[in-house]
């Protein structure tokens, strides 16, 4: 068995091609219910992400934003409802298969492989084993400050540098959709702007479904937003002109 087998089948690329002609939303969640044990966390989330757009999921802590991303990626498989990718039902599919269909995850807390080097962290995310060197070079060109740290253990990096590696992993995975969870969390203000710039660059290549507590940042990056409260989407719309003072927003974020 080759490493490619463990990394997933290359047939997935053909699947992506076959469904790339699909005209509807890239990602659809329809009436998704998810649980942690007996705790009912998502109570019927419905949302869509189209090709090329950045969508923000906003809401208070603990309302189900992260779980929505996990449900989309089948890390917390929904017990009810549907998750569709390019119109195809993917509910219950293994997460690594979704990854091979172009769905990437930049998780909360970065989730570095701390004992692996920066280059190895990025290398794990490259799906085509023959492209590892080329993709790594691309990631280092995109995030030049990582170049001098490429052989350092990821666990030894600063929070901002780790976030760069996490975004780079999403970038090199040939992803059409990136699920980004709290990218600015725990970072110094000057680093947050660097991360925002990086996400702006990534959004040129992939659609983003972004969970972000930093409201101005979320509105700045996103084209549309969904406001989540108690496991449901309670508001949605374009981010144009939306401010934290908006009454709809105030009601759920204050």
């Amino acid at each position: 068995m080759s490493a490619d087998d463990a990394g997933g089948s290359n047939d997935d690329a053909a699947d992506v091609d076959a469904t790339s002609r699909f005209e509807g939303p890239l990602l659809e969640l329809e009436d998704v219910h998810a649980y942690y044990g007996e705790s009912h966390v998502l109570e019927g989330v419905t949302l869509e992400v189209d090709r090329g757009e950045t969508v923000a999921l906003i809401g208070r802590n603990g309302v189900g934003k992260t779980t929505t991303l996990r449900a989309a990626l089948q890390l917390t498989p929904p017990r009810e409802g549907h998750v569709r990718l390019r119109g195809e039902e993917v509910t219950g599919d293994p997460t690594h298969e979704l990854a091979h269909q172009g769905v990437g995850w930049i998780p909360e807390d970065r989730r570095m492989f701390e004992e692996l080097t920066v280059a190895e962290n990025i290398g794990v995310a490259v799906k085509d084993a023959t492209q590892v060197d080329r993709k790594l070079e691309y990631a280092l060109e995109t995030f030049p400050e990582l170049r001098e740290h490429r052989d350092r253990k990821a666990g030894d990096l600063s929070g901002g540098q780790q976030q760069m590696v996490a975004i780079a992993r999403g970038l090199v995975g040939d992803n059409e959709l990136l699920l980004v969870d709290e990218p600015s969390e725990g970072l110094a203000p000057q680093i947050v702007q660097t991360v925002a710039d990086a996400l702006e660059r990534v959004s040129d290549e992939a659609s983003l479904l972004l969970v972000e507590q930093n409201f101005p940042l979320a509105m700045d990056l996103a084209d549309r937003f969904y406001l989540v409260d108690n496991g449901r989407v309670v508001e949605s719309g374009s981010t144009d002109g939306v401010t934290a003072d908006d009454e709809r927003i105030q009601r759920y974020l204050a």
């Binding site: 068995m1 490493a3 087998d5 463990a6 990394g7 997933g8 990626l73 890390l75 293994p94 997460t95 690594h96 990854a99 091979h100 990437g104 995850w105 998780p107 989730r111 492989f113 701390e114 004992e115 692996l116 190895e120 962290n121 290398g123 794990v124 995310a125 799906k127 084993a129 590892v132 992993r169 995975g173």
Partner: protein, 359 residues
């Protein structure tokens, strides 16, 4: 350094002479000092180091598979010792069936054939057990996996015992016919770098070093090894990046079980172990000590801990067999004392990130 210490101790004993040779002779401390001088003599120390390295090789061979499986999957495989028994008998069977005479080269060549066969058989058995028995338990608490692998130990040991009994072999003592297939050179002492060393010790050190190096290269130089190391740290993140972690689990369990085949083959040729049903428990206990002392699931820690435990075992064996009294179990007490010491002083082990019993 050791020469200087020896000279110091000799001078120290000489200095006591004026006090009265008879008195000194009657003091137990004087005897111990003399034994220390003997212990620290370069040739003796080198012999102990060689013996320790041979033991360390055996411990590392058994423990590396255990630590790979635990590191990636979090499964504490109590059946690991039983896999070693199967490996010893499979390798012994290959040797006994195919070997009729032959010189050093032929015996070594067939031994490596036996190693490959034992590896393949155990890897297949391990992959079967992982996919059919352990996989359904991943979502349950670790206790379920422990009970399952402990149950497997009882089943495998009894099956082997029945088969061995059926063919008229004594299950509790080493399979002499298999032991007899090793080259005569292994049973003899040889001059090596100015030392007198038993051939078997050299072979164990060489095989252990080659296997440990091969596993290390696999883990650090191959893409599959990268997936294993990533999955060992965070299997969910690895899965989200496209790694089929379940498949990697199966491969790692297969490799871990296969390595017990290699260890079993080596034990089959070592007269202090030999192919027997009891070799499983005998091998599993030091392997667990090595894995815990090194730090659960860390390859580097396992190798370092194997060296520490092997050298401590060899040192204590020398002291208790040559100086105090012949109590063959006392070195094992010291090995477990190391375990207790590490658990008290450094609960995560030498290189571990996860505390024993921690969550």
């Amino acid at each position: 350094m050791t020469v200087a210490i020896s000279q110091f101790l000799v001078a120290f004993v000489d200095a006591l002479a004026p006090v009265g040779a008879d008195l000194v002779g009657q003091l137990p401390v004087a005897g111990i000092v003399a034994d220390f001088v003997k212990f620290l003599s370069p040739s003796n120390l080198a012999g102990i180091v060689v013996d320790g390295l041979a033991k360390a090789s055996v411990f590392a061979l058994i423990a590396v598979g255990l630590t790979l499986i635990f590191g990636l999957m979090g499964v504490l495989n109590f059946a690991h010792g039983s896999f070693t028994i199967v490996g010893a008998y499979v390798a012994g069977l290959v040797m006994v069936v195919v070997l009729s005479g032959g010189g050093f080269g032929a015996r070594i060549a067939w031994f490596f054939v036996a190693v490959v066969v034992a590896f393949a058989v155990l890897a297949a058995l391990g992959a079967f057990i992982e996919t059919q028995l352990i996989r359904p338990l991943y979502d349950r608490p670790p206790l379920y996996q422990i009970l399952l692998t402990f149950g497997l130990t009882l089943v495998i040991d009894e099956i082997v015992r029945m088969i061995v009994d059926f063919y008229g072999l004594q299950p509790r003592s080493a399979w002499q016919e298999a032991l007899g297939t090793r080259p005569t050179w292994f049973r003899e002492n040889h001059d090596f770098l100015g030392l007198t060393v038993e051939g078997m010790d050299l072979f164990e050190i060489a095989l252990g070093a080659v296997v440990v190096a091969a596993v290390w290269l696999f883990l650090t130089r191959t893409r599959y090894g990268l997936f294993i190391r990533a999955g060992s740290e965070d299997s969910e993140m690895a899965e989200a990046l496209g790694v089929d972690v379940r498949r990697v689990f199966t491969v790692v369990f297969g490799i871990g079980a296969g390595l017990t085949g290699v260890a079993g083959a080596l034990l089959m040729w070592d007269p202090s172990w030999g192919a027997s049903v009891t070799v499983g428990a005998d091998a599993l206990l030091p392997a667990f000590v090595v894995v815990i002392v090194g730090g659960l699931g860390t390859f580097k820690g396992t190798v370092v801990a194997a060296l520490i435990v092997g050298l401590a075992d060899a040192t204590m064996t020398w002291w208790f067999q040559n100086v105090f009294v012949t109590m063959s179990w006392l070195p094992e007490v010291v090995v477990f004392a190391i375990l207790v010491l590490v658990l008290v002083v450094k609960p995560r082990g030498l290189y571990g990130v996860q505390e024993v019993g921690g969550h």
